[in-house]
């Protein structure tokens, strides 16, 4: 079944997630011989809230067709986000254009990959890469056996803990802050939280990222915690709070999972896009929208990565340079979501926060803003303030973010 080593391809994509599918779609459409390798057996499980933004939903339809029921959880959609505060009233913020999909990542990613038409080889781990003759030699392991690919271009679409990023920038991952998030699945005894919404708590005592939503008849309670800290304790604290504040009564947790996130790169415009013939995309490159929604940015950046390689292939330009020119618009869109000037005066999100504040009285509005600011103080220790402000001013004057800050 496996081709004899080494396998020559136009493009090797590492990872079989949404950014990989979007990238592969562009490459396959243009007739480039493309192989996707995936470490796990497909379809594979993925830790994710699955709440895709409307823009991402539209991208999926336009590129892969209408979503089949099997790629969605129950409830199948999410109307918006509810923000909760320690004392200010909770506010519902609806997504533009109606509810948005609640993706079952195990099936949605597999569906998108297959709809892209790309050749997939799963149970194949990326090990290392080196420059080859007019391309890149990638060493991988397929079910314990070494395998070699020779590709004209390599795309790293393998998520926050990207092995491709590690291979290209060995020092990078130790240089950025890491955030841990964990979630547990509970049987529901009584839950007054509206199942149509994704719930988020601006509560400094609970943690830097605290959320809850319904999935397939159970309630997810998730919390962010520092590396080395105790997830169970942070989680128990949230469950207790939900009971006291919202009257949520949950059975014991049945499943538990977590992952590390490279959060913060889109805030301070420190994306990592690769070197030479190796391109990095999706969350591996640092794309993460507000509310930690990475899927829509992964889809769009993946597509831009694919387009750039196609353009390079047909016009003989260096793909890396094309990619960095083209990715600027997605950087603008993603970093705008964290840019205080854009939040105050533009409308960078796919929901209107200021409009949702409308029905509240002036005193309540002030309380909401004050409690959000108090919550943001949790992040003060990263000392991003000056960088964010610097980038916001750069955006204001130059119309874009500083490309010199990209890795």
């Amino acid at each position: 079944m496996i081709s004899p080593s080494p396998r020559n391809v136009d493009v090797l994509v590492v990872g079989a997630s949404l950014s990989a599918a979007a990238c592969a779609k562009r490459l396959v459409d243009a007739g480039l011989e493309t192989v996707v390798i995936e470490r796990k057996k497909l379809p594979r499980h993925k830790v994710c809230s699955g709440i895709l933004s409307p823009r991402g939903h539209r991208f999926l339809i336009e590129n892969f067709g209408p979503l089949p029921r099997e790629v969605l959880h129950e409830p199948t959609s999410c109307t918006g986000v509810t923000f909760h505060f320690p004392s200010a009233p909770s506010i519902d913020i609806d997504f533009f254009g109606g509810p948005t999909p609640h993706l079952y990542r195990k099936q949605s990613d597999w569906w998108a990959i297959r709809r892209s038409g790309v050749e997939v080889q799963d149970e194949t781990s990326f090990a290392r890469l080196e420059a080859g003759d007019g391309g890149v030699v990638v060493h991988a392991t397929h079910r314990g056996r070494p395998q070699e690919f020779r590709a004209r271009w390599v795309v790293g679409a393998d998520g926050p803990t990207s092995m491709v990023v590690k291979a290209v920038y060995p020092e990078y991952q130790a240089s950025i802050p890491w955030f841990m998030v964990g979630q547990k699945f509970h049987q529901i005894e009584a839950c007054p939280l509206d199942t149509r919404y994704f719930h988020f708590w601006f509560h400094p005592a609970l943690g830097h990222y605290t959320w809850s939503h319904a999935r397939d008849g159970r309630q997810i309670v998730g919390v962010g915690f520092d590396v080395g800290h105790n997830f169970d304790r942070a989680h128990a604290n949230v469950v207790k709070y939900l009971g006291k504040r919202h009257g949520v009564r949950l059975g014991p947790a049945q499943d538990s999972e977590g992952c590390g996130e490279n959060f913060g790169l889109s805030l301070v415009n420190r994306y990592v896009f690769g070197r030479g013939r190796v391109l990095i995309t999706g969350q591996a490159a640092g794309f993460l929208n507000m509310m930690a929604e990475g899927m829509s940015a992964a889809l769009h950046s993946g597509a831009i990565c694919g387009e750039s390689i196609v353009e390079a292939a047909f016009h003989g330009e260096p793909a890396q340079a094309v990619y960095r020119r083209h990715i600027a618009s997605e950087v603008r869109r993603c970093s705008d979501q964290w840019n205080p000037l854009q939040i105050a005066f533009g409308r960078p999100h796919e929901a209107d926060f200021w409009k949702a504040l409308g029905p509240l009285g002036i005193g309540e509005r002030a309380k909401v803003i004050a409690e959000i600011l108090a919550f943001i103080r949790l992040y003060a220790r990263f000392k991003w303030g000056r960088e964010i402000l610097g980038q916001a001013v750069h955006r204001l004057i130059r119309g874009g973010y500083d490309e010199a800050r990209w890795w």
Partner: protein
């Protein structure tokens, strides 16, 4: 597990599915043209139909058998990568697709052999003339690319009836070359060197004289068409009129135009005039006055952003020119170039913070205006080939490898509001841009206008505007450009207008703007004419 599309070719395509925990996951797309219910929720993405607009690449099932069929019929299919790669994108430069093979059309019989084999083997066939589509309509996402440029001859010219018979793949410019040796000219054609007659008839074809003569498709009196099932049929208003009306403005869904009989006229150079406006709305109001007066032979608006708006008009004869200046010019509020320059200098002197815009306008004027007055195209103040002048200017000074020109086509009543709204979108997305507006005269109420660039509520004239971004100072990703196009087209949906071009990657808008009843009727016609849905399959349905 290994999933290799090359092995999938052997599988029955409709049955390809993956089993997961006892659940079947559909792999193949829905039947073409239909829209399934969305399990996400009925109120999700309100107004946006569930249409895959970036088509899946055809999986190649039955390709080898198809090529053998054609070899037996004496048709040569080129499959080498170098040939196929020449067709990888269109003028839009945003859609990329690679055909499995290419046939260069030589005769109607050969095209018929291709289409009947494709129908039997269910192989998608994408036709291409000059490849001047902007949304990937002429890009083949697998299957066969039918390159029409092999059929590029003038068949005959009849000076008495003022008709010319041309092959479908002939470029308008080549047609003009043949006609002008005999003192003749085409009536109206796209302002572009390399658009083909057949391709133009399928979408419209807008010239600066469309205000007087209508779109190019309305200049056609008869056609030889190869239907999607491979019949060669002659059609006109009297012979097979239904087919005639479907193929004209039919987006290539109902047949391949192999020959067309076009009305021609005596060749005349034209004398151009320009008026300048600093206000876009005033310029548009004056365009309507000019069009309604029917006193010019050519008219249009060309702008630099919305600050320098140029109302251009031209005449084929001196009598009409005199008439116009006596009767219509006094009603217009446009300025001469000098008056405009003085006004603009005053405007920017009071607004020094807009110096960058002022400088850009000045540089643009210095670059562009001489292009329209190049001595090799002018004699005694008359322009000798407007197509050369405009085409050259367009390709040198607008766009780059990507031509992004979304548009709105409206009735007279909606024209000004639609364009002003589109202009706001333009300002949001780009630092620099051009708008290009013209009117299109309708020739009565014809079936061909249904689901076409002629909006359903237009009477006498339709008005259109192209929104053309400039790519300096930066480059933009396809995603940014697509979002921009969506935003322009959203204006069309909200105002119930139409578009000059709405196929390919913009086909998601077809149902939104024309409504289900119209689209389903057209879809039924398509299914009858093309049972396997193989001809230009990703363009409309």
């Amino acid at each position: 597990m290994l999933l290799d599309p090359r092995t999938l070719r052997q599988a029955a395509p409709a049955a390809t599915a993956h089993r997961d925990g006892g659940r079947e996951l559909p792999v193949e797309p829905q039947a073409r043209g239909t829209i399934p219910p969305d399990p996400v929720g009925p109120d999700s993405l309100v107004g946006i139909p569930r249409v895959q607009t970036n088509p899946s690449r055809w999986n190649g099932a039955s390709w080898d058998a198809f090529v053998s069929d054609l070899a037996r019929a004496g048709v040569d299919v080129r499959e080498e990568k170098g040939t196929r790669a020449a067709f990888v994108t269109d003028a839009g430069g945003l859609a990329f697709g690679m055909p499995h093979g290419v046939v260069t059309a030589r005769s109607a019989e050969q095209v018929a052999a291709v289409l009947s084999a494709a129908q039997a083997r269910r192989v998608p066939v994408t036709t291409r003339g000059g490849g001047l589509t902007t949304e990937g309509e002429s890009v083949a996402f697998g299957g066969l690319q039918l390159d029409m440029t092999g059929m590029s001859r003038m068949v005959w010219v009849d000076r008495e009836k003022m008709l010319a018979r041309v092959q479908g793949g002939m470029f308008w410019h080549d047609m003009a070359e043949v006609l002008r040796r005999q003192g003749l000219d085409y009536i109206s054609a796209p302002l572009n060197f390399t658009s083909s007659v057949g391709g133009t008839l399928a979408v419209g074809g807008i010239d600066v004289n469309a205000c007087r003569h209508g779109c190019s498709a309305d200049q056609c009196v008869a056609m030889e068409v190869v239907t999607p099932t491979g019949q060669i049929v002659e059609c006109s208003e009297d012979r097979n009129p239904e087919l005639f009306e479907r193929v004209l403005l039919g987006y290539g869904q109902f047949g391949v135009v192999t020959e067309a009989t076009m009305r021609v006229r005596p060749y005349t150079p034209c004398r151009m005039h320009y008026l300048f406006y600093d206000d876009l709305r005033t310029a548009m109001e004056d365009l309507i006055v000019v069009v309604r007066s029917d006193a010019t032979d050519y008219s249009g608006i060309l702008t630099m952003k919305d600050r320098a708006n140029n109302l251009l008009f031209a005449f084929d004869s001196e009598e009409r020119e005199k008439d116009f200046f006596a009767n219509v010019r006094p009603k217009l509020r446009g300025l001469t170039e000098m008056q405009f320059a003085v006004r603009a200098a005053g405007f920017y002197a009071l607004r020094p913070w807009r110096i960058e815009e002022a400088l850009w306008l000045y540089r643009r004027k210095k670059l562009l205006l001489p292009e329209f007055e190049r001595p090799e195209h002018l004699r005694d103040g008359k322009m000798f080939d407007r197509t050369v002048v405009f085409s050259r200017a367009v390709w040198r000074h607008w766009g780059n490898r990507t031509m992004v020109i979304p548009d709105l086509a409206t009735s007279e009543e909606k024209f000004i509001e639609a364009i002003l709204r589109g202009n706001r979108v333009m300002r949001k997305y780009f630092a620099h841009y051009t708008l290009y507006c013209v009117a299109i005269r309708l020739s009565g109420n014809r079936p061909r206008y249904e689901m076409s660039c002629i909006p359903p509520d237009a009477r006498d004239w339709a008005y259109g505007c192209e929104f053309e971004p400039m790519f300096e100072p930066g480059e933009y990703s396809r995603d940014h450009l697509q979002s921009f196009k969506n935003a322009i087209y959203d204006v069309g949906v909200e105002m119930r207008t139409s578009y000059y071009r709405f196929g390919g990657s913009m086909k998601g808008y077809i149902r939104r703007v024309f409504g289900d009843a119209v689209v389903d009727r057209q879809l039924e016609f398509k299914r009858q004419a093309d049972p396997a849905m193989i001809l230009n399959p990703d363009v409309v349905f």
